[in-house]
Amino acid sequence: MKKNKKIVSFTSTEEKVSSSYVIEDCFCGVGPWMHRDSLLPYEAEDMLKLMNHFGIRKALIHSNFALDGGYDVMGNEHILEACDKYKRRFIPAFVVRPNPHKGDMQLSDYFALMHKHGIKAVWLAPKGQALWVWLYKDIVAACCKKKIPIFIHRDDITPDSLYNLCDTFPDARIVLAGVSYGEDWWLYPLLRQFKEIRVCTGHFYIPSYNPMRFLEHFPATRLIFGSGLPFFSPGGMIAHVTYADISEKEKELIFYKNMENLLEEAQP
C-alpha cells in the first residue's frame, strides 16, 4: 500500500486571510492523539497553514491528546506552548477533569493555572458519556461563577445527562460541539429550556435550510462557528454560513463575535 504523502505543505504559517468575513474557530484541536489517521494533520504549524487557506483568523484550541483520553496535564501543556508560540492566532482552552487521586490536579490547581495564563474556556471530556452532575458539579459551579464557557462534545453526553447538568446549573455557558444534522428533535426543546446553551456548527450540524431554520427559532447569538479541525476540514462549514440567507450581522455573530463575547465575559 502506498504511504500517504503529506498534503498540507503549500501555504505558510504567516497570517494571510483573504475572506471578506472575519472567521474565528471555536472547535480546533492541536497536537498528536492516540487514534490518529495518517491522513490527518496535527502539528500547530499544520493548523496554521490550514487556517490561512480557509481564511480563519484565530482558533480556540484544545488538546487532541487530552480529549482522546491522554493525561490532560500533558495535553494542556502542549496547548500552552502552541499558544505561546503563535499568540496572535491561537487562544487556549483547557481540558479539565474531576481527578480522584492525591497528587493529581485538583480543581483549585486547574483554576490557578487558568488564572495565571488567562485561560477563558474549558473542555469537559467525560468518558463513556459520564457527564454526571454529582461528579462534575464542582467544575461546573466554578465555571458558572467565573462565566467561563464549557465546551463539550455531543459524543460525550446523552441529551439526558446534558439536561440534568443544565437543570442543576442553568447559568452554565455550555457550547455543544459535534451535534449531528438529525438531532433537532431533542436539541430544540433543550435550547428552549436553557438559554445559556450554544451550539457549535462543527462538525456536522448542517441540516438542510440551516442556519436559516435555526434562526427562526433562536437568536444568532446561540450558534457559534467551529470546524472540528483537524478531523474535519472547515470549507463546508464556512460556505454553510457565507451562502446562508441571513443578515450580515448574523453571519458576523456566528463567525466570530459570539465566541469573542463569550471569552470577553469570562473571568478566569
Partner: protein, 257 residues
C-alpha cells in the same frame, strides 16, 4: 468564472458556471422536516446549482411508487432544475421491473437509485435492475456506507457499459477502501455526498483516482447544499478538477447539459 473558486465559497458568491447535484432528495426524514421545494430551489439559486438529480425519501423508507411519482411531479413543476432517479428495492422484487418500465416512460427519469436494505447488490434479485440499466444505458447510484459496497463493485465489474456511482464515498473515514475500488473498477465513480468532511480526504481521492472519477452530490435535504459544495470549493485541488467534479463528469454520465 472570474476568480478562483475558493473565493466564491469564502464570500458566498453565487457560482457562475453550471453545477449539477448528482445525489439529492425531496421529502422528509423522520423528525427532520425538509424545506419546501421552492425553498430548496431558492437555495440552489443562491449557491448556483443548476440542477439536482433527486430521489424521494419516502421511497427509501419503502413507499417506492408514491416517492417516484413525487419526484416526477417536482421535475415537472421545476423544469430543468430537477431530474429524477427511479428508486427500486430488492425488498420489493415483484415491483422492480414494472416500476422501472413505468418511470422511464417519463423523460425526467435519468438514473436508477438503490439503497442498502439488507440484500447485497450482487444478489440475483437485483439482476433485472442492472439488465434494464444496460439496455437503456442508465447510470445507477447506490447508497453505500463505510467502505462496504455490499456487492456494488462486483456488479459494476459484471456490467461494464454503464456507470455505477458509489454514494457517500469516504463515509466512516473509509477513504482507502473507496479509492481502491474506484481504481480497480473502471466504471465505478465516487460520489462525495457525505456529512463529514475529513481533512485531506478530497485531495486524497483526486490524487489517487483522478477528478474524472469523482462526482458531487449534496444529499439535500438531509444536509445543506451550501455545506456540501463548500468542501469542493475550498479543496486544495486545481479549479479545473473542481469543475469536473461539480459539473462535467455528471453532465457526461447522465447526458444532462
Amino acid at each position: 468564472m472570474n476568480r478562483p473558486l475558493i473565493e466564491y465559497g469564502k464570500n458566498g458568491i453565487t457560482l457562475d458556471f453550471p453545477v449539477i447535484d448528482v445525489h439529492a432528495h425531496i421529502g422528509h426524514f423522520g423528525t427532520l422536516l425538509s424545506p419546501s421545494l421552492s425553498c430548496q430551489v431558492k437555495e440552489m439559486d443562491r449557491v448556483g446549482i443548476k440542477s439536482a438529480i433527486i430521489s424521494h425519501v419516502g421511497s427509501i423508507f419503502g413507499d417506492i411508487r408514491r416517492g417516484n411519482d413525487s419526484v416526477a411531479e417536482a421535475a415537472l413543476e421545476f423544469k430543468g432544475r430537477f431530474y429524477c432517479y427511479c428508486h427500486v428495492s430488492a425488498q420489493y422484487p415483484e415491483n422492480i421491473e414494472g416500476e422501472l418500465e413505468r418511470c422511464f416512460k417519463n423523460k425526467v427519469f435519468v438514473g436508477i437509485k438503490v439503497y442498502q436494505v439488507g440484500t447485497n447488490f450482487d444478489d440475483p434479485v437485483y439482476d433485472p435492475v442492472w439488465e434494464f440499466a444496460v439496455k437503456r444505458n442508465i447510470p445507477v447510484l447506490a447508497h453505500t456506507w463505510g467502505g462496504n459496497l455490499t456487492g456494488f463493485d462486483k456488479v459494476a465489474q459484471r456490467f461494464k457499459s454503464i456507470p455505477f456511482l458509489a454514494g457517500h464515498s469516504g463515509s466512516g473515514f473509509a477513504y482507502k477502501q473507496y479509492a481502491d475500488v474506484a481504481k480497480k473498477v473502471k466504471n465505478l465513480y465516487l460520489d462525495l455526498t457525505y456529512s463529514r468532511e475529513h481533512t485531506n480526504m478530497i485531495e486524497y481521492f483526486v490524487r489517487e483516482v483522478g477528478a474524472e472519477k469523482i462526482v458531487w452530490g449534496s444529499d439535500a435535504p438531509t444536509f445543506s447544499m451550501s455545506h456540501q459544495i463548500g468542501k469542493i470549493l475550498f479543496a486544495r485541488i486545481p479549479d479545473k478538477d473542481k469543475i469536473k467534479i461539480l459539473y462535467t463528469n455528471t453532465s457526461r454520465l447522465f447526458g444532462i447539459s
